[in-house]
């Protein structure tokens, strides 16, 4: 077998002679879309509690392993009861940000209850983003992101995930990227099942989110200390906190770590 991918699907030279691009009308090189993200944002983490949802994401834009930008906002408020958190490629995120902006402007066209009964709800925003993500992946030209939409709808917390594959799912805790592995287990200690949400108050949930952000900052090499957190509470509405920092870190163990970097001993 010829293991060169560019030979696959083409008439074999042995049978038909050398492949002639001019006759086939084919480009000499296959058309290629995004194959990998460039500037990346790491995890978005989120969870429900008995009166709302919390979502958090740090402010880093990494260029490979270089911590290139440190003031990237990756949480976007849509009205008073929806927040969208985006991880993955930052330029694709910025494109999504524009889509969301247009969505909001268009919702105010000829809409006499645009800031009331017919305002944008989290499920509307989510369904739209999911449609965009799925249609882009079906064009083999994905937006390289994983997105969490958090909010309140009909007095119930809303939390749902969609990614570059167009895959969607919901859970009482959601996290993207590294957070899916590191934060989800921690958050699920608090809300293991959907029923646990009713017994979890804001303080407990907030503590779990802050703790998860700390663990992620410890263990995720593409994360930053500075982060943003949004709380959508059924009673108090939207609280958007920026420039938060991971607190109470303990680095005492660091001196004992061996085998990494340039240390001699």
């Amino acid at each position: 077998m010829n293991h060169d991918p560019f030979a696959w699907g083409r008439p074999s030279d042995e049978t038909y002679g050398q492949y002639n691009e001019a006759i086939a009308g084919a480009p000499s090189f296959p058309k290629m879309n995004t194959q990998q993200p460039i500037i990346t944002g790491t995890s978005v983490i989120s969870m429900k509690y008995n009166n709302g949802v919390i979502i958090a994401a740090d402010n880093l834009g990494a260029y490979g392993s270089l911590l290139r930008f440190n003031d990237v906002e990756r949480l976007f408020a849509i009205g008073e009861n929806t927040v969208v958190g985006v991880s993955g490629d930052i330029s694709d995120m910025q494109y999504i940000e524009r889509l969301l902006d247009e969505l909001q402007i268009e919702n105010n066209y000829d809409n006499s209850t645009g800031d009331g009964a017919e305002s944008l709800k989290p499920s509307y925003v989510f369904e739209y983003l999911a449609a965009v993500m799925y249609s882009r992946r079906s064009k083999m030209n994905p937006l390289w992101n994983a997105i969490i939409v958090a909010g309140m709808e009909d007095n119930k917390p809303f939390l749902r995930y969609v990614n570059l594959l167009g895959v969607t799912y919901s859970s009482q805790t959601l996290a993207t990227g590294f957070g899916a592995h590191m934060a989800n287990p921690l958050l699920r200690k608090v809300v293991d099942k959907e029923e646990d949400v009713a017994n979890t108050d804001l303080e407990t949930a907030k503590k779990a989110i802050l703790e998860s952000m700390k663990v992620l900052y410890y263990r995720d090499a593409r994360s930053s200390r500075k982060f943003s957190m949004a709380i959508i509470d059924n009673t108090t509405g939207l609280t958007f906190q920026k420039n938060l920092e991971v607190e109470n870190m303990v680095w005492g163990f660091a001196k004992d770590i061996k085998g990494y970097g340039t240390q001699k001993v």
Partner: protein
């Protein structure tokens, strides 16, 4: 041949700034049989008088469902109404598919307006020859809209369009204060049928020629025909 020089197409203004072709299209509504609509705060109701071409033919459909929360009745050219209702069905689907959202009645009205307007500003076509009464129940409650081929769509508590519709309209104006706060959907339907009666001339309402539809809180768009209208006769 023509009543004047300015009524041959939709792209010619008369010296007084009128569009005769559009005005004639509004006349086409009056050729159709009457239909009445009204709404309370919780429900919206349609009633329509169906006509048959002759004894042996079936009755022309007057009410068309567009979605679980949206439907309309027509007066005028029925094929035009089918084009417009198909368009609304598409738009309802799109809204549901892309936004997980019921198309709001207000937006449905604007979509119809804008579609109808196109036919009044370019050569080669004609305006739609049908008036519509659009009812729906969305996030902001029950609504009734009256659509005209000119591209005007108005939100009303009650309306009647079609032949001799003025009788029903006058009746609706008279009883408006009573039906707007009605809680009982059955009472609302009765008022609507009673209004329809005000526009009858030789006809009498029968199970054959009466069509009713209702939509509202906890009530998807439901249509009543034939024996199902018996209680309201």
């Amino acid at each position: 041949m023509f009543r004047n020089n300015y009524d041959g197409d939709t792209v010619t203004f008369s010296p007084t700034g009128r569009l005769f072709q559009v005005e004639y299209a509004l006349e086409a509504i009056k050729q159709g049989s009457v239909t009445v609509g009204l709404r309370s705060n919780k429900y919206a109701v349609l009633a329509a008088l169906k006509r048959n071409a002759d004894e042996l033919s079936s009755y022309q459909k007057k009410i068309i469902k567009c979605d679980e929360h949206l439907g309309l009745s027509l007066a005028g050219l029925a094929p035009d109404a089918r084009v417009l209702s198909n368009y609304l069905r598409q738009q309802c689907h799109y809204s549901q598919l892309v936004f997980n959202r019921k198309l709001s009645v207000e937006k449905a009205g604007h979509l119809l307006s804008d579609k109808a307007q196109q036919n009044t500003q370019s050569y080669g076509g004609r305006p739609y020859g049908v008036g519509l009464l659009l009812i729906g129940y969305d996030n902001s409650g029950a609504h009734l809209l009256e659509f005209q081929p000119s591209g005007n769509t108005l939100e009303v508590y009650g309306s009647a369009i079609g032949a001799r519709s003025q009788g029903a309209k006058t009746y609706l104006e008279k009883v408006m204060d009573n039906f707007v706060d009605l809680e009982d959907p059955e009472e609302l339907i009765k008022t609507c049928v009673e209004a329809l009666r005000q526009s009858l001339k030789d006809e009498t309402l029968t199970t054959e020629n009466l069509s009713i539809a209702i939509v509202g809180v906890d009530k998807p768009f439901t249509q009543f025909d034939n024996e199902k209208v018996t209680p309201y006769l």
